[in-house]
C-alpha cells in the first residue's frame, strides 16, 4: 500500500537521465514512477536487445559497456526491489493540469503527478538531401539501433552522411560488426573541425577515442563533403552523388544511407507542460529553459538530451541534478551537487566544441533545389514551404498551416529545422525570428480505440 501523503513524482524516460533521477529519489526515500517507451530501461544510447540475444555489453556498447551495465543493473534492481513503479512500453502522449495521458498496451490511462521530471532524450537532427524520402534512407541513430537491438545492418552497402560524433561512431561500429560501409561523408571541413579542438580537449579521452575510431574508417571517411543527391529506383536507394572538399563529383553506389547532423532535443512534452523556450544559437534549435539544476518552473524539471545536448554522461549528471532540485523544492535533505555541477560545466564546454566542429549544414539546406522533399511525412517540397512563407508570412506556424510541413505524423520532428531555415533564408531574417511549431497533443499517434478505454 503506497504512502499517499508522499508527493507523487513521475519521471518520463528510462535512459541514463531518467535512471539516475529515479535512483536519487529512491535514495531519499521516495517511490517515483518511471514511464518509458522501451521494453527495458536504457534509453537509446544503452538500448538493450531482447533478453535472449547473445552479444555481451562489450560487443554492444564498446568503451561504454561498464556504464551501460551499471545503469541497467541499477534500474533493474530498483524494479525488482519494488522501490519504484515502472511503466514499460508506454508513451506519454499529453500533459495537462498535473496529469499525464499515457498510451500503453492496454490503452490510454491518466497518471497524476505532483512533480514531473522530463528525461525524454533526443532524436537525430536531420537535413533534407534530394532523394532522402526513398526506401533505404535512415537516420544514423536508426543504423545504430538496428545493430544494437537487432544485430542487423540496414543495407548491403552503406553510405553514412552528415556530421557529428555519431557519424564516426556508427561508421566504426558497423565496420567492426562486418557491415560493408562504402563511405562516411562528413559535411564539416577539416578546418572547421579544428576550430572546435580546444573545447573538445576538455574531455581528452573522449576526443582521442573519436580520432581513433575515425582512423579505423580509413579511406572511407571524407570531410568537407557537399551531398548532392540520393539516387533511387523502385526498390529504394541505389547511389549517393556528392562533391568532395576539392569540388570533385563522386557517385557511390549503395542501397542504404544513414544520415544525421548530431541531435535534436525531444521537447514536445516540455512544450505541453508549459516550459519556456529559447533559441539556442549553438545547437540551432529551440530548447526549453531551465536553471543550472534543471528546474523549468511549475513543478517541472528537465534532464538529459531533452533539455541540453550534453551526451550520455552529461545525462547521468543532469538526472541527479534534476532529482536533487526536486528534493530540495519539496523540503527533503539534498545530496551535495557541487561535483555534478562542475561536471556539467565540463560537459557544456565539450558540447560547445562539438557544435563548433560539426555544425548544422545551414548553407546546404538554404541551397536545396525547389523540388527537394522537406517534409517526409507528406512529401512537401522546399518550394511549397517557401510559397507558404510568401503567402502567409515568415512565421513557423503560418508556414505549417499553409504548406502542411510539420502537420504529418512525425509532427515536425524531422522537418521543422530545415523548413524554418528555408523560410529564414527567403525572408532574410535570423532563424530565431521565424519561431517554432506550436506543440500539439497527442505527441504520438494513438488510435481512437485506446481512448475509449480511459477511466
Amino acid at each position: 500500500m503506497k504512502d499517499t501523503s508522499r508527493p507523487e513524482i513521475v519521471i518520463v524516460g528510462g535512459g541514463p537521465a531518467g535512471i539516475r533521477a529515479a535512483a536519487t529519489l529512491v535514495e531519499a526515500g521516495l517511490h517515483p514512477v518511471v514511464i518509458d517507451e522501451g521494453s527495458a530501461a536504457g534509453g537509446q544510447i544503452y538500448r538493450r536487445p531482447p533478453a535472449w540475444f547473445a552479444r555481451t555489453p562489450e560487443q554492444l556498447y564498446g568503451s561504454e559497456a561498464a556504464k551501460a551495465r551499471a545503469l541497467h543493473a541499477l534500474f533493474d534492481g530498483l524494479v525488482r526491489e519494488r522501490r519504484l513503479t515502472h511503466y514499460a512500453r508506454s508513451s506519454v502522449i499529453a500533459v495537462h493540469d498535473g496529469r499525464l495521458h499515457v498510451l500503453g498496451d492496454e490503452g490510454v490511462q491518466p497518471i497524476s503527478y505532483d512533480r514531473l521530471i522530463l528525461a525524454t532524450g533526443a532524436s537525430d537532427r536531420v537535413a533534407p538531401v534530394p532523394g532522402w524520402q526513398n526506401a533505404g534512407v535512415y537516420s544514423l541513430g536508426a543504423a545504430q539501433i538496428a545493430l544494437k537491438a537487432q544485430g542487423v545492418a540496414l543495407g548491403h552497402r552503406i553510405v553514412l552522411m552528415g556530421s557529428g560524433p555519431l557519424l564516426t561512431l556508427v561508421g566504426a561500429q558497423l565496420v567492426e560488426a562486418g557491415a560493408d560501409v562504402a563511405a562516411v561523408l562528413d559535411t564539416s571541413p577539416w578546418r572547421q573541425q579544428m576550430r572546435g579542438f580546444r573545447e573538445l580537449a576538455t574531455r581528452p579521452v573522449v576526443a582521442l577515442r573519436g580520432l581513433t575510431l575515425r582512423a579505423r574508417l580509413g579511406r572511407r571517411y571524407h570531410s568537407g563533403v557537399t551531398p548532392v543527391r540520393i539516387e533511387a529506383d523502385g526498390s529504394g536507394v541505389t547511389a549517393v552523388c556528392w562533391r568532395d572538399a576539392n569540388g570533385c563529383e563522386h557517385r557511390t553506389p549503395c542501397d542504404m544511407v544513414g544520415m544525421g547532423w548530431h541531435l535534436r532535443a525531444e521537447t514536445h512534452l516540455a512544450d505541453l507542460a508549459g516550459c519556456a523556450f529559447g533559441y539556442d544559437e549553438q545547437w540551432r534549435q529551440w530548447l526549453p529553459k531551465t536553471d543550472a539544476m534543471g528546474r523549468a518552473g511549475n513543478g517541472v524539471y528537465l534532464a538529459g538530451d531533452g533539455m541540453r545536448l550534453l551526451g550520455a554522461d552529461g545525462a547521468e549528471v543532469a538526472g541527479r541534478l534534476a532529482a536533487a532540485a526536486c528534493l530540495s523544492d519539496l523540503g527533503y535533505p539534498v545530496p551535495n551537487s557541487g561535483a555534478d555541477l562542475r561536471a556539467r560545466e565540463r560537459f557544456e564546454r565539450f558540447a560547445r566544441g562539438l557544435a563548433t566542429a560539426f555544425p548544422w549544414p545551414a548553407a546546404m539546406v538554404r541551397a536545396l533545389p525547389d523540388d527537394t522533399i522537406v517534409c517526409r511525412c507528406e512529401n512537401v517540397t522546399a518550394a511549397a514551404v517557401c510559397e507558404g512563407a510568401e503567402s502567409g508570412g515568415s512565421e513557423a506556424n503560418r508556414v505549417k498551416s499553409l504548406s502542411r510541413a510539420g502537420m504529418g505524423r512525425c509532427q515536425g520532428r524531422y522537418c521543422q529545422l530545415a523548413a524554418v531555415e528555408l523560410v529564414a533564408a527567403r525572408a532574410g531574417c535570423p532563424t530565431a525570428a521565424v519561431g517554432r511549431f506550436r506543440g500539439q497533443a497527442p505527441v504520438r499517434p494513438a488510435p481512437v480505440g485506446a481512448f475509449l478505454r480511459e477511466e
Binding site: 517507451e37 537509446q44 536487445p49 531482447p50 535472449w52 540475444f53 547473445a54 552479444r55 560487443q59 508513451s91 532524436s123 537525430d124 524520402q133 526513398n134 526506401a135 533505404g136 534512407v137 535512415y138 537516420s139 541513430g141 536508426a142 539501433i145 538496428a146 545493430l147 537491438a149 537487432q150 544485430g151 542487423v152 545492418a153 540496414l154 543495407g155 548491403h156 560488426a177 562486418g178 557491415a179 533511387a232 523502385g234 526498390s235 529504394g236 542501397d255 542504404m256 525531444e266 522533399i373 517526409r376 511525412c377 507528406e378 512529401n379 504529418g408 505524423r409 512525425c410 520532428r413 524531422y414 504520438r444 499517434p445 488510435p447 480505440g449
Partner: protein, 99 residues
Amino acid sequence: MIAAGRIVRLAERDRAEVHFSLDGQMRSALAGDTVLTAMLASVQALRRSEFGDESRAGFCLMGACQDCWVWQEEGPRIRACSTPVAEGMRLLTTSGIWP
C-alpha cells in the same frame, strides 16, 4: 526461403524461427525481430508512400518518425519498428484501400 531483403544479419543468428505471412506469402524471421526487421529480411520496403511514388522502409527505428506503419490483414495498423514479430502475423505492404 530465399531472402531478397534489405537487411543483413551481422549477429544473433542463433534464434528460433518465427513464421508469418507477408502479402499472402509465408515468410520466416527470428524470435526477437521487430516487424520491421522481419519484413525487411524478405523485402526491400514496408509500404508505398501515400504522397509520392517512392516506397518507404522506415527511418528512425525509435518510434519517432512514424514512417514504418504497416497494415495487417485483420486488425489495426502497427508501427513496425516498435512491435515484435509474432508467430502467425498476417502483414501487408499495401492496404488495398489506401493509397
